[in-house]
Symmetry: C2
Subunit: 662 residues, 2 copies
């Protein structure tokens, strides 16, 4: 029988469907006997995300090469070159903005603050839809293809993309298991966040740690193994794909460095690394202050509010045109190595050879393959170039953060830190050779090590995390510098976290008014000692034990909740007996009972008619926010006296919180 025949009888169709179903069930049994269904989902999640990441890298590389080719073809025509340099990123970022905004307005920005909020238990279904996945993916390719002019990264959006893939896979997994409840959604999203970072860089361990640090305030160890499993799958797939595409001969770090192994640094350099950490911490404070200022500015400036609410693409185009004009290689761009792509910037900064001692060797400079930092020294003095780069990129980066398009902010910060470290390291190497006259036979000071430490310390301080230290090691495969890098990151973090300043993501959460409690607590520590009774919204309907049919009917008519608290007497609301769980048919039945047997039931009480389920965990309205926070996410429904019912996390109404914070 030709199964595609339109004349197929309905019974045959049914047989086919049953056969398919049977096959599916059998496959599920065989797979399920090997390991739980969710592990296949975790593996699929890792592989899919890595595939998305690889595909994005490939398309971005092609788009960047097209721009470089066009620019080089126009050599000699200064105006045409300027137009090519500026209009290419302008059109790409305008496209990115309009595309993502028209398909799904939630796809703009990094996505990390939203994912954090979702992971803390708040439902935000729009942020996990498939249209958002599509809009964010295409938009991000355009943003990245705009290159080092716009200077934005892909980590944050990839965490978001991976979470969307995870949510979708979780639905699939639930269907495959034939269950109705979505058992593992929490675990799946935590794992997805880890996979996002891991498959961005092929760095599984730091991926997991970064997501743990950024995403949660508490980490359940039962998610630990799934996280590492999925992250390892993602990282392996990412590496294998780049190997098969011919980029790498074997699995190796993305920015493989070759620092000297026998004496990577002198022990006396350890305090110097701590000083670099302090510098990076101070730098991060300045950067975060500027970032907070501009977030406030675009919220309060009337012109900007108007432009950003109606003409988002125009705003993007204008800002990117400004950025591109500044970085034009024939004007100021030559003093800030603007011809290098983001990847080239990082690998040139991490090179172990000293720039200054090589800058006189003209033959090497002509071969960019041997000497990736030639762009930095082409204008003469690398110190000035680095300083100018740091000064210009600070405001350019802050400005770029306001663009309403899908973009990540981690990688730019990482590179900025590497530039700080490089400047510091180059200066130190110069001083050690030309002022202190170190023994020439011994290993010279390696400025690349300082660049690596600076990158980890600065990005760690900006995001208030320590895992960039490990990420720096995994990205470069350079384990010799583990101790000084960790030290610098710790010192920078200590400085950045002092004085209750919010981190980069906290500032975004607060600016976007997301109900994310840890961010709020950072800005307003007083909140932790406030009783929840004062913060939560008004209480819903309550029934008393002895409620008659009339009261029950009234409550049923007014409320839309599925659970109603039942108390002993309405006089003392703290004596909670349990909850009355209502299903749709339950309500109908109650209504019918009421209408038809009104005389019979009139004297019956609530306790006689319905079973009241006890509440497993009960809070009093006097419990402070801090105490409620210390209850775990995945605990069951909690009743706060009879004030309000909520699932898992504490959802504060924003007005209340603002009231307390004032």
């Amino acid at each position: 029988i030709n199964s595609k025949s339109p004349h197929l009888s309905s019974s045959a169709k049914l047989t086919h469907a049953a056969l398919c179903l049977e096959c599916l069930v059998r496959v599920r049994c065989v797979m399920g006997s090997l390991m739980g269904m969710e592990w296949y989902c975790f593996a699929t999640l890792g592989v899919l995300t890595a595939f998305l990441s690889f595909l994005m890298d490939l398309s971005v590389a092609k788009l960047l090469r097209a721009h470089q080719w066009l620019y080089s073809q126009l050599e000699g025509h200064c105006l045409l070159q300027f137009l090519c340099w500026t209009l290419y990123p302008v059109s790409l970022s305008a496209l990115s903005t309009s595309f993502s905004q028209s398909i799904c307005p939630f796809s703009a920005g990094s996505g990390v603050p939203e994912v954090r909020t979702i992971l803390s238990g708040v439902d935000m279904p729009h942020y996990l839809s498939l249209t958002n996945l599509f809009a964010k993916y295409v938009g991000l390719i355009c943003t990245l293809a705009a290159g080092s002019t716009v200077f934005l990264g892909k980590v944050g959006p990839f965490v978001h993309l991976s979470t969307m893939v995870g949510a979708y896979l979780n639905q699939l997994c639930t269907v495959l298991r034939g269950e109705k409840e979505e058992r593992t959604e929490g675990a799946m999203l935590v794992v997805a966040a880890a996979v996002g970072v891991a498959s961005c860089f092929g760095a599984p361990i730091s991926g997991v740690l970064f997501s743990v640090e950024v995403m949660s305030s508490h980490f359940a160890l039962k998610d630990y193994c799934p996280c590492f499993f999925a992250a390892a799958c993602g990282a392996l797939t990412f590496h294998l794909l780049s190997m098969w595409s011919g980029e790498q001969e074997t699995l190796q770090a993305l920015f493989q460095t070759s620092f000297s192994d026998d004496l990577p640094f002198y022990p006396l350099e350890i305090p110097v690394f701590a000083i670099l950490g302090l510098l990076c911490g101070a730098g991060s404070c300045i950067y975060l202050f500027c970032h907070r200022w501009i977030l406030l500015f675009i919220k309060t400036n009337k012109i900007l509010i108007k432009v950003l609410s109606t003409e988002k693409a125009l705003y993007s185009a204008m800002v990117v045109f400004l950025l591109a004009s500044v970085t034009f290689p024939l004007s100021a761009g030559q003093y800030m190595a603007s011809k290098l792509t983001i990847k080239q910037l990082l690998s040139s900064l991490l090179d172990s050879r000293q720039w200054t001692s090589q800058s006189h060797n003209a033959s090497m400079v002509l071969q960019p393959n041997l000497c990736p930092w030639s762009e930095w020294i082409s204008s003469g003095n690398p110190y000035l170039t680095l300083g100018f780069f740091l000064f210009m990129k600070l405001w350019m980066l802050v400005l770029a953060c306001t663009l309403p398009l899908p973009a990540g902010y981690f990688m730019p910060v990482f590179i900025y830190g590497a530039a700080i470290g490089r400047l510091f390291g180059e200066g130190l190497a110069y001083v050690s050779l030309n002022v202190v006259y170190l023994d020439q036979n011994r290993n010279p000071i390696n400025p690349g090590g300082y660049a690596l430490a600076g990158a980890a310390a600065f990005s760690g301080a900006v995001t208030h995390t320590l895992s960039p230290a490990l990420l720096a090691l995994e990205l470069t495969g350079q384990s010799t510098h583990a101790a000084p890098i960790l030290l610098a990151t710790l010192v920078a973090n200590a400085l950045a976290r002092s004085g209750q300043r919010p981190s980069f993501y906290d500032a975004l959460s607060i600016s976007k008014k997301l109900p994310h409690l840890p961010s709020l607590l950072k800005v307003c520590p007083r909140l932790s000692s406030v009783p929840i009774g004062k913060v939560l919204g008004p209480r819903g309907p309550v029934l008393e034990r002895a409620a008659g049919p009339t009261e029950v009917q009234q409550v049923l008519n007014t409320c839309s909740q599925t659970q109603i608290p039942v108390v002993d007497t309405l006089g003392d609301l703290s004596l909670l007996l349990g909850v009355l769980k209502l299903t749709r048919c339950h309500i109908l039945f109650l209504n019918m009972t009421y209408h038809y047997f009104i005389f019979q039931v009139l004297k019956k009480q609530l306790v006689d008619m319905c079973s009241i389920q006890p509440v497993s965990v009960q809070l009093s309205p006097d419990t402070t926010v801090q105490e409620v926070r210390s209850l775990r996410r995945h605990s069951l429904v909690i009743c706060v006296g009879v004030w309000c019912q909520y699932k898992a996390s504490l959802r504060l109404s924003w007005t209340c919180v603002s009231f307390i914070c004032q």
Copy 2:
């Protein structure tokens, strides 16, 4: 005035005391303004533990060298050599046993199960005393000095030692801050556990991760920074001390390897690493089965019970004599490289050069510095030596675990895994060269990489953790093999965790009858769905709202608790009003009131006389163990209906649990 003068007047003494106090306060102010007092404690903890670790390594190295010297001096006298070989470890382990048992019997064993239990909220003050610290430290030096004959490590005891130092520092910190409450004890102990591992190996990151994985089922992110800070301090101090003592020229990994960087492994080797992971997982299952069997055997065999209860030192001496006789280099020991110390064993196994291809080169074998594995091939066939080593060490290791002396079990397991990996890798290298005839110009297969992966996978599977993968990288400074090592560890863990088998530490916890819930849940998953009402002990006294003085008096006379639950009516115990907090003087006052004003108060009710404090978190007896577990450790006092009150963790009475588990 000479301050030491015995004739000093009391007023002058007072002035001195006041001056000292003022100085102390001023120092505290200056230090406190820079960072919180607890951070100094964390740093001190790291430095102190690293110092202890370094001192131990130094003494152990000296003791081992003395033994080697003595043994080499007796060359030619076979019997004397045998006596030297056996009696030295026998006397050391007998000394270790009798010393630790006589000073503090709690100091025997690894200490990790006890620290886990303490961290989960159970008070075990004997395990954190200073005498225990002393007994464990000295005992551990003796154990380690017995060398590779006894084949025990130092990680576990160091976690315990570090926790004791941490608890002591916490008391000091509390006094310095002038507070009465020990605010940070929980945090301090968590940090101390991380520092223990970090300062053992100078591996800060994996130290923190290992302690997180082994110690807790949930990790609070606020402990994350302190953990890394203290671990970094510890690791840095450890490295600096070994540098200043002349062991290392600069900071480098403890077992620095030099694998080839350009092509560390072929991509096709990745599935082979997964197969090695499977092998290690299977091996770990056998090892854990033997371990559980011997734990049960020494608990049930009547002779052993008698010997172990009275003659612990004799038992140790007998077992170690057996082990030493077997490893005597002139008998079976020559086939298991028994002359190598534990450190030499590991570095020889991790060497990147292939043993078999070098074994014909006699000149290298004569120079043990160039060729650390010469002991392995001295008997001829390295495969047979490795196989014999694996077979013998399995039962020897299981037997050594029963010794009642301070000892760690992680390092032996790590080395055992390295031997499995080495045998696998050597076999593969032989096959690839002599059977498949790989291109001779390309890099040969590196058996050291397999040894490293095997070590991580086997120790990870035995302890049910993933962090040994990171530890292997940090111990060797070898980041090229990150992906395959993580893969092997994941596969081994998947096999070891399947089928609800307890990990090594879980088995110890259960055998020692420690109230550690996660271990219990692993053995008896049914426990998680049991209502706590069934598991907890009988309920204490309860007062009702309208209780008169007589009832109050009765309850006060019978109970020793400081908090008494107050319910609405005794008829329904689930309607909890709050708790009555009693202090000593409160009780006295109530008693007095009762005796003197008996007529006046006779008609008064409890609610009129005392303030009843509401309970912030309330559980019903129907709440399952799983739900209670999901409430966090540091939450406040929780009342389970009126069944029982407990602080923080769930303390189950053992009889109840055994009842459920049957």
